[in-house]
């Protein structure tokens, strides 16, 4: 019996304030709380039928330090795909409205990406596939410019 990975499922994040984190993932990202436990683990997803949870937030140890602001070894970034550039624009608006710290945007041809931090300083990439050409691997890293003006333009 051999085995293969089908897909990425979810990321679990330890946070300083579970309620604040849940607000970020629901209000800014549009995820839905699908369940929670007595230990304040909150499960969030975009679609329970497709993936029972995409993000789980749970409390960190009280007084735990925030993630290292430098470039420490470990989980550097979690990436999520968004349905379209219109939705990436909408997400950009929601992140701004929430007051999230936006890191940068990248036009990589068939892939358009937006990077932002959650309230605990974890970095997320949100990207869509856009345009006539199917993305190739290089579209995941070849930066041709930013999308700041396109993201900020009225819908």
């Amino acid at each position: 019996m051999d085995f293969k990975v089908r897909r990425a499922g979810h990321v679990v994040i330890r946070v300083a304030d579970v309620d604040r984190a849940a607000r970020f993932f629901t209000e800014a990202l549009g995820l839905t709380v699908i369940g929670s436990t007595a230990r304040k683990m909150i499960f969030l997803t975009a679609d329970f039928e497709a993936n029972h949870h995409m993000v789980l937030v749970r409390p960190a140890r009280p007084g735990a330090p925030p993630p290292d602001a430098g470039a420490p070894i470990g989980m550097a970034q979690a990436s999520f795909e968004v349905g379209s550039f219109a939705e990436l624009k909408a997400l950009h608006g929601r992140l701004r409205e929430f007051g999230a710290r936006i890191d940068r945007s990248e036009d990589r041809g068939a892939v358009k990406a937006l990077f932002a931090y959650d309230p605990d300083g974890n970095l997320f990439q949100f990207y869509c596939r856009e345009g006539d050409d199917a993305p190739v691997l290089a579209d995941h890293f070849t930066v041709r410019g930013d999308l700041d003006a396109a993201l900020a333009a009225p819908a």
Partner: protein
């Protein structure tokens, strides 16, 4: 409710030793390097012909701070989960056998009712979960909290294949 997020895509790991981590994920999860970029990052996916990564590895600077030894109580990403492309428990047993063969440190195993999961540590002590989805009828009566811990599955994983 449909928000903008369509799916979980990939994880980027900053690693102590790029070659060591590449070898680990190729063996532990049968991932394949599908390319690299000018910065030296490696892109890994389940199939060699894939054009979207499941995992990106980037070399950390020599003076990069190590991650906390115990990932659990600290603020930050605690673990990342990959779904197995099978509904057959023998596939999860095959992962378990592979992890043991390569000497990976298994953190714990658990029956979550909605999934059966193995949690293991990579060479930088990042915790990774690999899970098998349970059939819907198994958790249909527990939709308000389908994520219970029903105990470990160590014996079931180690059992001889039927």
């Amino acid at each position: 409710m449909t928000g903008p997020i369509a799916r979980t895509s990939h994880l980027t790991l900053r690693v102590t030793d790029l070659a060591r981590s590449r070898g680990f994920y190729e063996k532990a999860l049968n991932l394949h390097v599908i390319g690299d970029d000018p910065a030296g990052r490696l892109y890994l996916a389940a199939d060699p012909e894939d054009v979207a990564p499941l995992l990106v590895l980037e070399q950390a600077d020599a003076d990069a701070a190590p991650r906390p030894v115990d990932p659990e109580p600290y603020i930050g990403m605690e673990h990342w989960a990959f779904e197995l492309d099978s509904n057959d428990f023998t596939a999860l047993q095959a992962v378990y056998r592979r992890l043991n063969e390569i000497g990976a440190e298994i953190h714990h195993t658990v029956d979550h009712r909605v999934t059966e999961s193995i949690y293991f540590l990579d060479p930088d002590r990042n915790m990774i979960e690999i899970y098998l989805n349970a059939p819907r009828e198994r958790f249909a009566g527990h939709m308000d909290h389908p994520y219970d811990s029903l105990g470990d599955i160590d014996a079931k994983l180690a059992a001889k294949l039927g």
